[in-house]
Structure formats: structure tokens, C-alpha cells
Symmetry: C2
Subunit: 354 residues, 2 copies
Amino acid sequence: MSKMLDEIRQQPAALDKTLRSESKGIEALRARFATRRPSFIILAARGTSDNAAQFGRYLLEIATGIPVSLAAPSIFTLYGARVDYKDALVVAISQSGESTDTNLVLERAKECGAMTIGVTNEASSALAKLADHVILVRAGGEKSVAATKTYTGQLLAIYLLAYALGAPVSLEELRAMPAVVEGALSLESEIREKASRYRFMENAVVVGRGLNYANAFEWALKMMETCYVVAERFSSADFLHGPIAMVEQSFPVFLFAPAGVTWPSIREMIARVHSLHAETLIITDQSNREATGLETTRSITIPTKLHRKSAVPEELYTPLPYIVPAQIFAACLAAEKGLNPDQPRALEKVTRTL
Amino acid sequence: MSKMLDEIRQQPAALDKTLRSESKGIEALRARFATRRPSFIILAARGTSDNAAQFGRYLLEIATGIPVSLAAPSIFTLYGARVDYKDALVVAISQSGESTDTNLVLERAKECGAMTIGVTNEASSALAKLADHVILVRAGGEKSVAATKTYTGQLLAIYLLAYALGAPVSLEELRAMPAVVEGALSLESEIREKASRYRFMENAVVVGRGLNYANAFEWALKMMETCYVVAERFSSADFLHGPIAMVEQSFPVFLFAPAGVTWPSIREMIARVHSLHAETLIITDQSNREATGLETTRSITIPTKLHRKSAVPEELYTPLPYIVPAQIFAACLAAEKGLNPDQPRALEKVTRTL
């Protein structure tokens, strides 16, 4: 078994540990934000962590109403620009905490007087030392080059940050997440069987929208780095603005299809892609009865019905369990293609960029 | 000849017209910003216009020091979120000015008391009526579905906006742009010959960095919509964080390679891709002597040496001429593949999304 698959399976325990260890610090942070609310939020990251940042870009703006921007590190590292971050909250996300460029964004932000937060898996990293406050992802050492448990740990950290900023994120719902993720893990053998169909797939498109847009980036990245598939990623809206032209008969389109506000546009996209004689595979859950009833669509259905205890829409919590079948799919497809997902060609675990 | 190629050739005249017509309005805007400087800037767009916004994200932040964010329209259209744009400048960019979702972002921004600007090719559009100030792209009617002259017009509008915000952007350098673009157009027959090599190309990667990152998105989009090539787009930094694993022998990598601060990372990327036995095609200009001296690299070299009259780095002005050979390449490759770039399958000129 690959380390990647082993680490995918560790996710419920890792999420549970992070939740338990961080709850006290998050309450302290919440008290601090109650007296000083940032005017805007900047998220800085690379690779898989940047996909987690993309999720944060949606969650934080939707749930807090504070404008959010994804940092472009080269503006500091290459252009040496001075950007006015005085009233900002600047958050760097890095598994290793040793990403020189995102750490530089944080340094510049501190010089402006911005408040800084580091989200990292390494308590003794440069990032952890640099940031005013650290949200520690307690996923344990990640051995596979393909990040999985640190990604879901980062998503959880962003939910906690939203909570600290006063957003209607329920800690009770988050405490249910390890069990929901466990439900997604139970699909492993079914997903392995489904993955074999794609043994000779060379191109793919992954589509997600809103809170699951980041997951489209992450699924595509996992397929690129572990399966060497040329996987494009789009929101369903952007996809219609040009790229849909490249879809041919049998072109595979993978979609995240939770119930909720994004479903009508995803349903429309599925119909559009089918009219072009391409095929789709969706990740959905039992609460999306309409999706599970689509006979012409291949699907992976997460068994645990996401519960609706709080007033917030349940779609808010789908990104965490929804990425899990995608991770398993990539690990199984890599194995099917005879590749080692733990050590992709041309990659190392910590990538240093300037 | 395709309408696309015809419209590509109209760019020097279109840029010249926009410059002449907009200069007075821009000075008025500059006076207005001198008394009220925004705390941050939001750019809202879709498709090709969103690639222009991506350029704005870099240029405006580098040249003004004001933080910039790309809006995610679904946060308003699907999630109905209220985002606090009170101190923001919100800019919507749309060729037709009839994009319902980006117009909705502008409406919400106005309700918050934000200042709004519309960049559009249509003086009587909904966007032009809605925005506090309009920067009119005077490209003339664009008949091809593949946007070209409106993209460069939008880039020019963003330079003008940067100038209005007090950035060290030189109107004199901008006035030289039509001639520089003319120089790029002179390469048409050379590019047509070069494009024939890629007749059977199905996948590609386009890489750009910093100010030319947006051009990587635009070249990839043009290849997707007019040539049906599965074209990925990355910054050289992000590319190293995973996606490089999919590069195989003969995998084509297209790069923007101007002289200046991004060149060392692009040069490193070229060497890295060659070590994987993949091939590269770069767009560069005569000022990048190092690039034009790389014997193992195929290149398209823009003849007009970009002049250096002002104190700002000349790389600042490369995005406008650099996209032109890429547009010609896509139009010629589409013809080579027997496709009509003016009417790609599954696309219409105005795409309405919610």
C-alpha cells in the first residue's frame, strides 16, 4: 500500500486531534478579533496549501463579509513592491512552514503592522516562529510527496479561523467531521474499482463551484502529480466562457456535486457536457437526491447524510468530506497506472521558490 | 482569413484610438483619486476579461501598493453574501458590458458606498450605465468569438487606471505601444510556419510569471477555445509545486520570457523542462539577449527593442506586445487543424452566467 493511501486513512484521527488541541487557542483568537476586526484578509500559500487558501478565499468572505485576497508572492520576491497591509489580517499556509516566499509575504505584512497567522503542520518551523498566532495542523508527519491529510487539516484550520472571526461556523458540526470523513473512507474498494476505467486517461477536466472550487484544484493537482494526467480545473461558470470548446466525445469531466446553492449550475453543466457526448463522474452525497437519481451519470456517493442541526446551510461543510473520495481516486488510479504516488517524478516534498 | 486574425491586426489602431479618446477622462480620474485613495481594489470579470483582471491584479498592486483582489462573483450570485466594500475601488471588466454576474458585484459594491469603474467595449451597455466612471475600450465591434483586440484594449485600460491611481506608469511609453504591437504583428508569416509543427498537439502547458502570468492564462484560453488543445496554465513557481510531474518527453511547454525580474525563474524552468526531454517555445524580445542566445530553445522574438526612456523597468510594458504572437499562434494553429477560430463549437460571443 502507498504511504499516500495510508495517510488518506489517517484523516479522521488527524482532524480529531487538531480540533481538540486547537479549540482553546481559537477561543483566545476569537476574543482578540472581537476587539480588532481586520478590514481585509490576505492568504499566502503555494501548491496544495494554495488550494486550501482558495477554499479560505470563499469561506471567509461568505461567512465573515470581510474581503479576501490570495497573495501573489512574486509581487514581493521579484518586484520588491511595498503593499499597504496595515489594516489586514495576513495568513500564510504551509505544510512545512519553510516556504521562503510565503514567509516573506508574512514578514512584509508584519513590517506594515498587519496581524499575522501561520497555518502549518510543523510547530518548530520558520513560519510558526514568525506569525503572531499559529493554528497548528496536527496531522503528524506526512511522508508521501502528495499532500492529503495536511490539506484536510488546513481546511479545518480555515473553518476554525472563520469561527474566530465571528462567522456562523458551528464547532459542533466540525466535531462531526471525523465521522463524516470516516464515511467517505468506507468507499475505498468501490472507488478502486471505479478508478480502473480511467487507466488510459490522459486528459481530464475537474469542475467545482463556490466552496468546492478549491477541491477542483486539489483533485486536478493530485491527478497531475500522482497520475501524470493533464487535468484542467475550472468553476462551472468559467468553464462555459471558452474552455468547454475542447470537450470531445468521451472526454472525462469530474465534478463536485453537493446539494445546495451550487447544484443548479453543476446540474446544468452535467447536461451540457452530456449533450457533447462526453462523460461525467460526480462526487455527491445522499442528501443530494436529485444527483443520486441521475441515471446517465457515474457517481461516488458519500454514505453519511450530512446532518442539518444548525441554521447554516449544510453545503458549508461539504468540502472536507468531498475531497476524500478524490484523494482515494488519485491514489488508486496511480496504482492502476503502475506509478508510485509517494514519489512522483521531478518532485520533492518541500519545494523552495522565489 | 479568419475574423480573429483580422481583428488581431486591428490592434495598433484600436490601442491608438483608445489612448487618444480616454486621456482626458483619465486625468479627471487621477484628480479624483488624489483626494480619495481606495484602501483596496476589487476586480470582477469572466473569461478573457478575467485574464485582463489577473494582469490588473499584478500591475495595480506592484505599481500602486494598494492590495488587490479578484472577485468571486458566486459569493454574491449564489451565496447572497454581504461583503464590506465601503473603502474599496471595485472595477468590473467586460467586453460586452452585459455580464450579469460581474454587474451584480458592481451593484453590491455601490450599495456599500464603494467607488465603481467599468471597463467595457460597449458605451451603451448595462455596465457603462451602472459604473461611476467608465474606461471605454474603443476596439470597434469584435466579431470573432475568440477575444483579441478587446483583451489588449483592456490591458491598456488597466495601465491607464494605474496611472490614474498615481502609479509610475508613463503615458509616453503607452503611446509607443501601437508601434511595438505593430512590430509583433510583422511576425505573422514566421509564426504561421512555426505553428504547423503543432498540428497534432493535444496537450500543452503555458507558463508566465508576474506581469505576464495573465498572458499565460490568455494564451492557454485561446488554444483551448480555438484549437481544442488541453492547455494548462501556471506560474513557473506553482508549476514546480506538483504539475511538473506530468511533463513527458516531447510535452510542449510555452513560456513568456521577457528580460527583467522574472527571467531568472523562467530560465531555470526552461532548463528544468529540457532536462525532462520536453520541448519549449518561448516568446521573447531582442532586449533579452540571454534568451535569444539559448540555442536549444525555439523562440518567437519580437523585433522592436522595447525602449527604456523612463525610470520604471521596461518589463512593465511587455504584456501588451507579448500576447500578440500568442494570439497569432492560436489563430494559425486553428487554421492548421482545419478549425474555424471565429465560431468554436459549444460557444457563443456573450456568455451569461449566474
